[in-house]
């Protein structure tokens, strides 16, 4: 009976992906990426249950660690952008084009 969990993880992943595409604040975009990673964790753990081995659960821990490392780097970059431009909107960061 794991199908509902997989469905839930797919829904959460889609919400995250759509959020990345339509939200304009870099922090919110980044939170949506985190939502996608957490949806992945849910599906990894569900599949670990289905497959009857621990590899999925171990992977979920690694995804959490990587997500934490990503937060450190990401917030540092978003902070510098915000301090120089007084805005964290991804639309304002548009000096590089064509």
């Amino acid at each position: 009976m794991t199908t509902p969990f997989i469905a839930l993880s797919a829904i959460l992943f889609s919400i995250g992906a759509i959020g990345v595409l339509i939200r304009r604040n870099a922090i919110v975009v980044f939170m949506c990426v985190e939502l996608m990673l957490n949806a992945t964790n849910l599906s990894l753990i569900t599949f670990a249950r289905t497959n009857g081995n621990l590899e999925g659960q171990v992977a979920a821990f690694f995804v959490m660690v990587v997500a934490a490392a990503e937060v450190v780097v990401g917030l540092a970059i978003i902070m510098t952008i915000f301090r120089t431009r007084r805005s964290a909107s991804v639309d304002d960061a548009s000096l590089l084009k064509y």
Partner: protein, 530 residues
């Protein structure tokens, strides 16, 4: 539920990688305990010793790989089935380490900015403020860039060796995170640099979320994270393959993002243009090598049995990448951006080589051909790209590097030598004979032909002609356009930068004239072990 066994790691085999990561950790420690004035020399020394000893160690491991050198299947899977130490891995390690050493030399260049590194004096100080001017007048510099470089190199070594999806994901992040930071650390044009870092980071995080969701779907299908387990499940299972194809698509999207293939290439020009040029040079050469070998290994070792199903997807991506990379490059007016699109086009040519490998179950002689071709192309591409971006750091005006094409007008008169070398590298990228670009394209096309992908080769040859147009355009601008006095001059670098340009150009010329020795070496490298 079974228990997790205690891991057994063969430290000798993975020593090159551990040396690099260890040197990076020592670098971080040095940053904390040494006084500011001593850090530059200490960091350069630590990085140099670390990379060089790792390179020596990699050669040593290669020599000890297998006494029976005739067998194509050499090497072994170590670290509980997560890293494969075989011929292609060790060749890639050597390549990444050499690119790391060359990148270290351009990172360490201090002549061009008047005695400081080309990285932000103090990244936390806002551009255009008193704090930034003070950091600049006190001659502050971020020597943290050297440990970051080492971490990226370490990740790039783990990435192509991974034979386990979890190791693959961790390696991907280990080399990506330092690169995100390095992109934002330029000393000049800091707004552009920070913006490049933001774009690279957000898109990179987005793509790795897709990648890891793909991993979870494939794991759901196969019940195993290891490539061997996946290969078994893919070949044997008669279950519904929805999870498999969904997961495969997402994983490939994540990897194609890293190599900058269309339709996942949009970050490439922005990031290559905004990042400090030394970082761009390293990223262009190193990331491509690591990501392509990882992609090859994943596709052929784990998903080789469903080759027929994914090959059409790669066909389309390869054609789109070559066409869009070359056609859009024609319209560029910035040299760094143009080189970025050229690297997108090169990714397309390498994908053609990827299709040259037919690993349908059995390992045949033509498999080795495909791997040989891709590794050869990656070698030639890496050296010429590193040298070309290094030359970009030398053409400067009062505001730092002058990368706009109009600033390059008449460069042939100001510095015939530099313009000549750059023209030679551009012709190599275009693939003219007597350069390594020609031999690289030749072996890749030959491999694809032998695998029966001739329509793709026809497209690739036609696109090479289009690509010639924009490479020639820069040469025309450099040598035949009128040069107004625009304040652009060619800076005289320290021997560090000159050495990188010399090595890159010499290798490009040598592999064009006598490709034999390297091809021989590559044919002894063998194939991916399973």
């Amino acid at each position: 539920m079974n228990t997790i066994p205690t891991p057994q790691i063969d430290y000798f085999q993975v020593a090159p990688m551990l040396i690099v990561l260890g040197a990076a950790v020592i670098g971080v420690l040095a940053e904390a305990i040494l006084p500011r004035r001593q850090r530059y020399l200490a960091q350069v020394a630590i990085s140099f010793v670390g990379l060089l000893s790792a390179l020596v160690m990699a050669v040593f491991v290669f020599k000890r790989l297998d006494p029976n050198s005739l067998s194509p299947k050499r090497g072994q899977v170590v670290a509980m089935g997560s890293l494969a130490i075989d011929g292609p891995t060790l060749f890639t390690w050597a390549l990444v380490l050499i690119f790391g050493l060359l990148a270290l030399m351009i990172f360490a260049e201090r002549h061009l900015e008047g005695g400081v590194l080309a990285f932000a004096g103090q990244a936390a100080a806002m551009p255009g403020t008193e704090a930034e001017r003070e950091a600049s007048s006190r001659g502050l510099e971020h020597t943290e860039v050297f440990p970051l470089l080492l971490f990226a190199v370490g990740g790039m070594m783990m990435f192509p060796a991974s034979t386990d999806m979890l190791a693959l994901f961790v390696a991907l992040e280990v080399f990506s995170l330092p690169l995100y930071l390095l992109c934002g650390l330029a000393r000049r044009r800091r707004l552009l640099s920070q913006e490049a870092a933001l774009k690279y980071f957000l898109l990179g995080a987005f793509s790795s979320a897709f990648f890891v969701y793909g991993i979870s779907l494939v794991y759901g299908f196969a019940g195993s994270m290891s490539y061997a387990g996946i290969a078994q499940a893919v070949a044997g299972s008669s279950d519904s393959k929805v999870l498999l194809y969904g997961g495969l698509g997402l994983m490939v999207a994540g990897l194609l993002f890293k190599v900058g293939a269309v339709p996942f290439h949009n970050w490439t020009p922005d990031v290559y243009q905004g990042a400090p040029t030394a970082v761009t040079a390293f990223m262009a050469a190193g990331t491509k090598v690591a990501a392509f070998v990882a992609l090859l290994r994943l596709m052929y070792v784990a998903f080789g049995a469903i080759h027929v199903n994914w090959a059409p997807m790669i066909w389309i991506v390869a054609i789109l990448t070559m066409v869009i990379g070359s056609v859009v490059a024609v319209a560029q007016t910035d040299v760094k951006r143009l080189l970025a699109y050229s690297s997108v086009a090169h990714a397309g040519f390498i994908l053609v080589g990827l299709l040259g490998i037919r690993a349908l179950g059995e390992v045949g002689p033509q498999d080795a051909d495909g791997v040989t071709a891709v590794l050869f192309y990656l070698t030639t591409y890496g050296f010429m790209t590193l040298a070309a971006f290094t030359i970009v750091t030398l053409v400067r005006d009062a505001n730092g590097e002058a990368t706009s094409m109009k600033h390059w007008a008449g460069l042939g008169k100001k510095s015939p030598l530099l313009a000549g070398v750059f023209a030679f590298l551009l012709l190599a990228m275009a693939g003219l004979p007597l350069t390594s670009g020609f031999t690289g394209k030749w072996v890749v096309f030959a491999a694809a032909m032998s695998a029966g992908a001739w329509p793709l080769v026809v497209v690739a040859v036609l696109i090479s002609v289009v690509a010639l147009v924009f490479y020639i355009r820069i040469i025309v601008v450099m040598f035949f356009a009128d040069s107004e006095d625009n304040g652009v001059s060619v800076a005289i670098p320290s021997p560090l930068t000159s050495t990188v340009i010399m090595i890159g150009t010499a290798v490009t010329l040598a592999l064009g004239l006598i490709p034999g020795p390297l091809l021989d070496l590559l044919s002894r490298v063998g194939v991916f072990i399973r």
